[in-house]
Symmetry: C2
Subunit: 336 residues, 2 copies
């Protein structure tokens, strides 16, 4: 387990790139000035980049390097799922300290590759830079979608249903709890919330199946919380939305967390989160088809409300029909 | 000139993405979960990523934000030029401090866009993360090349000529001088070296013209120095190389720097560098065609030696025919 300083850059990069698998569609993989890949004819490319910064998005004591690599890949996958795309190729740029253990770098790379390989996607390039302060990792993921078939945030229509996968809010609750208790206690007492944070769901297959129904009109991934991401869809689409307070997906641990904080479940479920679940606008006529498509992939899909023709107005609606504002609060990385 | 903390993440990202131009081939640009772009039929994609870390690759007092953005774009362009590709789409991931001025972020983005737009390429996505220590910027650049037409490092043949663009070694000399004198003196006394470091050359058009001759058999960009990058081509191609000591491109300031350090010009010219010039293997029969193609683009092209059938053996050859080893020294980011 030599450090990067002991190995030197050339050997470190050689060991990292040696683990990269060749897959169909890769003409020239790691080791040249750039990667050369061959896209499928008649597809559009879908590209996204996401980064994790040590001490900001994670702490080394929270998550081991392989799980961190997997989590970064899953965070990027989530952006592609929200476009109904499938992943193909990734590039990793990292800033690491010279005393970083090469085995940990290899473990991180393995984590990324494990997630990608389940979709026949692969790492084709990267860059390793030396840092002295906190480490960081930026992953750029390139995928494909049938030409013209990408979902956007901008096409939700009044009357479309609001649907979410999974039970949003759990990853955010885990991070909040980590400010109050240590990881060992979190893993013991709140295992479901811990898993929601540490192993985001992979919604690629579900998104493809839902796209095939033709009933999804808009989508976003829940990286900043249900309320804030719903507000983004509403803004982009020029619509409003009403969520049913009683319809928000529940979860025993999330309910218990809300009780601990003396807050309403719906507030915790819709607040800051890193769930990487999908929020979609669904044509009411496609409700059954979408429910079936999700169920066949084993993915929980819940219809939680409806888009309205009141642009920018987001509200909770109780079972008795009363309304209250739905506040779009999310995490601001630059807040003081 | 508000800071990111004052503006908040949402508004900062809105201002950044508002400057991104729509260009042909972009189906969905900034502002959705991912970008959607439409590649040309029958082309391969070429992808690379490169990163600059504050205090490691640059210091804020050396270069203003717009020039830094341009320089990062040019560093990435150089990797595509070395594959004979043209740039199309870029994604920027940055780690910036909360007290960072939004106007400086916009200037950085302008610098990137200015370089890309000269090739009808554009920024289609990005990610902004908060850091507390040194800032960093990672650019991923996606380009296109005719299917099967990418240059590699691996196909140089014994007898092929070694050709370089520009006068390598100048950027590395500038960085070395910055360890001895301040930037004001460097800009005054060594303006050519300063420019070589701060404004890397754009060799995209020259590479396309050289590729059209069909005479280039292998290529690499000179990001780590002539000697080290030549050694990489030799290793990948299973060949050796002999450079003529007297043929190395000269430059009055580089000559003066070598004198200052009491070193041979050829050592300074072949040492650590960030020149982003091209090193190519050229079929001897294509020598004239390549010289013409480069001249038509106004790009200096010098034939400095020849690849040999002695794998891994790199040597200098004097005018009188004597040989000495060519040592492949370059910059190691992780050296202690």
């Amino acid at each position: 387990m030599p450090t990067l300083r002991e190995l030197g850059e050339v050997e470190a990069v050689r060991r990292l790139t040696a683990t990269r698998a060749e897959t169909p569609g890769v003409v020239i993989g790691a080791g040249d000035d750039a990667a050369v890949v061959r896209p499928s004819p008649r597809n559009d490319l879908v590209a996204t980049t996401d980064a994790f910064v040590e001490g900001r998005h994670y702490r080394p004591e929270w998550i081991d390097p392989e799980a961190l690599g997997a989590r970064l890949a899953l965070a990027n996958l989530s952006d592609l799922a929200a476009m109904a795309a499938v992943p193909r190729w990734a590039l990793i740029a990292r800033g690491v300290r010279a005393d970083h253990d090469i085995d940990e770098l290899l473990a991180f790379e393995r984590g990324v590759s494990r997630v990608l390989s389940s979709h026949d996607a692969t790492v084709v390039g990267g860059n390793l830079a030396a840092v002295e302060g906190p480490e960081w990792s930026a992953l750029t993921l390139i995928g494909e979608v049938e030409s013209g078939g990408a979902w956007t945030r901008a096409a939700a229509r009044p009357g479309d249903l609001v649907a979410v996968t999974g039970a949003p809010g759990r990853a955010g609750a885990a991070v909040r709890l980590l400010g109050e208790i240590d990881r060992a206690e979190l893993m013991r007492e709140w295992p479901g919330l811990w898993e929601a944070w540490s192993v985001p769901p992979d919604r690629i297959a579900a998104a493809s199946a839902l796209a095939a129904t033709g009933g999804v009109t808009a989508a976003i991934d829940l990286s900043d919380g249900l309320a804030l991401d719903l507000a983004r869809v509403c803004e982009a689409s020029g619509v409003g939305a009403e969520l049913e307070s009683g319809a928000v997906p529940s979860d025993p641990e999330l309910t218990r967390a809300a009780e601990r904080w003396g807050e309403a479940l719906k507030s915790v479920a819709s607040g800051a989160s890193d769930d990487y679940e999908l929020l979609m606008a669904v044509d009411p006529n496609a409700r059954e088809a979408c429910a079936r498509a999700a169920a066949e992939r084993g993915v929980p899909l819940t219809f939680v409300g409806r888009f309205t023709d009141a642009p920018g107005i987001l509200a909770w609606r109780s079972e008795r029909g009363s309304r209250e504002p739905l506040l779009a609060r999310g995490y601001d990385h630059f807040a003081g």
